[in-house]
Point group: C2
Chain length 218, copies 2
């Protein structure tokens, strides 16, 4: 089984064994739903492979993508009784599922683990604040550039450093994450490509002018 590296770095071997005994490895096909906003929260997930789209819907269909989960990320931490957002697989996804009961029992028994989860939640909150800044105060071009640099960093931290940023999500997903329309995302990408700031490649984008991009994101 894939190591639950993100949450468990600080755990002892027997704790890790306990954790793995409670994890149900699961696979989701492309487009399949892990869980739905408003439904009773039965499980917490740790993504081990693939990318998950996390989003909220308004009754009239407007959508806000609140994040993309990559391998190592934890889903469903912010649940109360019901999930606060929906999650579905972008491409195939492997994840470890923990039943809610097992999760709460484990957390009560292992302060180590709780501390790691709290650090994780706290980091998520910091990212959420940055996303608020981005959504409320940045221009379309800045939004795209911050998004690309952010994804690049996240892949790098997972041991996949590259000037080519994989973008397995659709333009619509990116638009709904950045508070834009698909047309604006497409046009802004095209403009950045004409600038030679980026190069659009199948399945992603190659960063050509990181200096300029970092300056804009600053």
């Amino acid at each position: 089984m894939v190591r639950l590296v993100s949450v468990c770095a600080s755990l002892s071997d027997d704790e890790l064994a306990l954790l793995e005994s409670l994890a149900h490895p699961t696979h989701f096909a492309s487009g399949e739903t892990l869980f739905t906003q408003g439904r009773e929260a039965h499980s917490v997930y740790n993504v081990t492979a693939g990318v998950v789209r996390l989003y909220k819907l308004l009754s009239d269909g407007r959508r806000q993508v609140v994040g993309f989960a990559l391998p190592g990320d934890f889903l469903g931490l912010a649940m109360r009784d019901a999930y606060g957002f929906s999650a579905d697989a972008i491409g195939g996804v492997s994840a470890c599922a923990f039943s809610r009961g097992a999760y709460t029992a484990l957390v009560d028994a292992k302060p180590h683990l709780l501390k790691r989860l709290h650090e994780f939640a706290t980091h998520e909150l910091t990212l959420a604040h940055e996303q608020m800044m981005l959504l409320g105060r940045r221009t379309a071009e800045e939004k795209l550039i911050c998004f690309l640099l952010g994804m690049q960093q996240r892949w790098a931290r997972l041991g996949k450093p590259s000037v080519t940023v994989p973008l397995p999500m659709t333009r619509q997903d990116i638009a709904d994450f950045l508070g834009l329309t698909i047309e604006t995302v497409s046009r802004t990408f095209t403009r950045l490509a004409k600038d030679k700031t980026i190069l659009i490649v199948p399945g992603g984008v190659r960063v050509m002018n990181p200096e300029r991009m970092s300056a804009v994101a600053a």
Copy 2:
């Protein structure tokens, strides 16, 4: 000393006594800064009276207010080494300060407390996701209405239920929270008042048509 009601409901008397022995009660004058984004995080605060503006700045001066802290709220949880945002007092503010060392020691020693703090962080994260939806996908009128209902609920949960929502912050603060300009906030308030949806009163707003407001926020 004011009870640290929000975090400590689940603590035993001796734990509460320990907590209070570590808290430094502090007062801040109107406009005074509790802490600044990027500075080394030395303390965590629990607000006991007044309202605190939490915000991030971009190098060119654009500002995003990431939240308003009311009595009972905890500040600085999402700190790493440095504060991720700035905080300053709107009107006079009383708060209990905990040194970072005392805070981490306490958290390590008391899993109860850690659990409460984690629940608090998790709730903040849920609110942050809702704010993303609001910033990315809602219109100016919806933003204002959601803001007013949200503030009303928060005051209600603190034992101050009222159809009159106190708004001690400036229009600029509200604008920077909602990703709007001061002019749009002002015009939208005026329009809602003409509608008889709200009544603008000194220091706040009276909710006149909660049904319509809830329908818009849905």
